[in-house]
């Protein structure tokens, strides 16, 4: 084993900004690095989880007094739909705790003594585990609270919130003109505060007729722009028609090469079989690439708790999914259910040896109780079976063991 000399390296650590979602920050390795672009795709046409992530991104920027530029059509109405901090922040902690313990209803579970010290099984990172690496601490937003119009108005007045509309003419692509105006915004603004570029629904009909190579060119140029103005970062979500993998050959991989980070939120809405297989989740998260602006290895590989690639040698990567509860969107690890289709783990005490009557915890199966009597105990012959057969019984008859009585 060779000892590595610890050199004092002047690492140019890029500052990070939070996405507004704790678990997504963890997956990215602390947050989105400045000068990087993140592309979100959501191929499911029945839901808009990528736009939800973008709203979190915008709300976090507003809550941290950073500058934001929203590009698209009808951006004012879209911004007004964003979530905000809960009105009473003291209550918010209790609410999140209540939500997390929704499955832990029974506290009187007998746990073997060696496991008593272990924490309950966690599938996601908590709100308190912020590494402090971001320039802005991640706020806990509440999906039931809308952003107050006064916040938007104040930000617009202070020129911290800018709306860029799309205008494309016949001989000028919408993407080219957007890039030009975005460059003007980046060049003229203050460089001390981070600027978040928010592009919901890239490629939607309001962007005009675009081809695949136009979109890729746009993403590539956007990344180049962010490198030239490193106080900014971008979060882009593609329109549904551009989010599926069959748009072009190797579409997700091309998106991954054109941007710093590319992830897909694959919701189950159109696939009831998957929804039944993963009952606690609303979709799976696929990671194509993660930002690594100044290093060979993305920071997420080393720091992410959810992905689990940093701890130990030879460990694989966790599968990740997401769920949207009433108050928030959470990304968590995916685990398969207990075999046998039982919803909960069996924790009741084993029944006595004589009368074996297995209790089935699931309420789905209606009481078709099977009663098995052990050989040896003399059971009287059923005299006259009552007409009302409420329960099915299989009884061994001790004198005629080859006959089963149903």
């Amino acid at each position: 084993m060779s000892f590595k000399r610890k050199t004092t390296r002047q690492t140019t650590t890029t500052p990070l900004v939070s996405t507004g979602i704790h678990s997504l920050d963890d997956i990215l390795g602390g947050g989105i690095p400045l000068s990087c672009s993140l592309v979100l795709t959501a191929p499911d046409p029945h839901s808009e989880y990528d736009q939800l992530v973008l709203k979190y991104f915008l709300a976090q920027g507003l809550a941290s007094n950073q500058r934001i530029c929203v590009v698209g059509s009808d951006t004012e109405n879209w911004t007004a739909q964003c979530m905000w901090l809960p009105p009473n922040s003291a209550r918010q902690i209790a609410d999140t705790v209540d939500e997390d313990t929704e499955t832990q209803s029974d506290e009187k579970i007998k746990i073997a003594w060696r496991y008593e010290q272990m924490k309950p099984f966690q599938t996601t990172v908590g709100t308190s585990s912020s590494t402090g690496a971001t320039a802005d601490p991640c706020c806990t937003f509440d999906l039931t609270t809308r952003i107050p119009p006064s916040v938007i108005a104040d930000a617009v007045k202070a020129q911290d919130l800018l709306f860029l509309s799309i205008d494309g003419s016949k001989d000028n692509l919408s993407t080219t003109s957007v890039l030009k105006r975005l460059e003007e915004v980046l060049a003229n603004g203050k460089t001390q505060t981070p600027l978040r570029v928010c592009i919901p629904d890239l490629g939607s009909p309001s962007w005009g007729d675009l081809k695949a190579h136009n979109l890729l060119h746009f993403l590539h140029c956007l990344r180049a722009l962010l490198r030239r103005y490193p106080h900014a970062c971008a979060c882009v979500s593609l329109a549904t028609e551009w989010s599926a993998d069959h748009v072009a050959t190797g579409w997700y991989q091309k998106l991954g090469w054109m941007s710093d980070g590319a992830i897909t939120l694959d919701a189950f809405s159109g696939n009831p079989a998957l929804a039944a297989a993963f009952p606690g989740l609303h979709g799976l998260l696929r990671i194509h690439t993660l930002p690594a602006p100044t290093t060979l290895v993305p920071a997420s590989d080393r720091f992410s708790t959810l992905r689990g690639t940093g701890t130990g040698a030879g460990s694989g990567e966790n599968n990740l999914g997401f769920k949207c509860t009433r108050k928030r969107l959470v990304f968590e690890t995916v685990h398969l259910d207990v075999e046998g289709g039982v919803g909960e783990r069996r924790t009741t005490a084993p029944p006595s040896a004589v009368d074996v009557q297995p209790s089935i915890a699931s309420k789905k199966i209606v009481a078709a109780v099977v009663e098995v009597e052990l050989e040896g105990t003399p059971s009287p012959e059923p005299v006259a079976a009552p007409v009302k057969k409420s329960r099915k019984r299989v009884g061994f008859q001790s004198d005629r063991p080859e006959v089963y009585d149903f």
Partner: protein, 240 residues
């Protein structure tokens, strides 16, 4: 060139990679080893033609290998050329002229030219024919100056594990002396091993004693901050 592979100088090396196993480390290692090999009697020069705007990343990774790229830029040992510009359509002619002039200025120096990468240009709309002409012209210029040319090409593996062979890849493959493939592990992602590297000989090259690594016995590598650590498949070699 490029330890642990003992590739000779003056070749055209095609490096292909996939999204799950990017070959950035190969390019960095080739350039940094080349720059470090400079001695008092031997001058080395590296020219990087980059489509992605990653000058800061080059500088950051070079600093970890104790190379000051800014210093090399001023002395002319390292030249960085941005091929694509957001304002106009990418024009390959100025980039080619820059390379030719740099090759002319180098004198007797040992030059390494790196092209990173042409697949992006193809995907953003540049016709394949233009890219093919550019590659052929560049290869000819490098051969005249006895410089080593390293071209990086992304390959796509959309649904199967076999990469699809695009036209540009086929053209480059015909021209190359050696083909280095950076592949992900066939068993999926792992925390310890980042991927594997295979080395094949180009279709028109005569075998000359360079050790080749077919896919079945590809070398594994693990990415660290300073670069990649290579080890044989099935061994740990002090890395794991």
């Amino acid at each position: 060139m490029l330890s642990p592979f003992d590739l000779p100088a003056g070749i055209l090396l095609l490096v292909t990679d996939q999204l799950s196993s990017p070959a950035d480390f190969v390019l960095y290692r080739a350039v940094f080893d080349h720059l470090k090999a400079a001695k008092s009697d031997k001058v080395t020069k590296a020219i990087v033609l980059s489509v992605s705007p990653d000058r800061a990343r080059w500088a950051a990774v070079a600093a970890k290998s104790n190379i000051q790229l800014d210093q090399k830029l001023t002395t002319g040992a390292f030249t960085f050329v941005d091929v694509i510009s957001p304002k106009s359509e990418p024009d390959l002619r100025p980039a080619f002229d820059t390379v030719v002039s740099e090759l002319g200025k180098s004198g007797g120096a040992d030059v390494l030219v790196v092209v990173d990468d042409l697949a992006t240009l193809e995907w953003t709309g540049t016709p394949v024919l233009d890219l093919t002409c550019f590659c052929r012209a560049l290869a000819a210029a490098c051969r005249k100056a006895n410089a080593t040319l390293l071209i990086r090409q992304h390959v796509l593996t959309p649904s199967t594990t076999e990469p699809i062979l695009e036209d540009l890849f086929r053209t480059l493959h015909h021209m190359c002396t050696y083909h280095m493939e950076v592949l992900p592990l066939s068993s999926g992602r792992s925390g310890a091993v980042s991927g594997q590297v295979a080395l094949h000989i180009g279709p028109g090259t005569v075998r000359a004693g360079v050790k080749l690594y077919p896919r079945s016995s590809a070398i594994h590598y693990k990415l660290a901050d300073t670069g990649a650590l290579f080890f044989e498949r099935g061994t740990a070699s002090g890395v794991l």
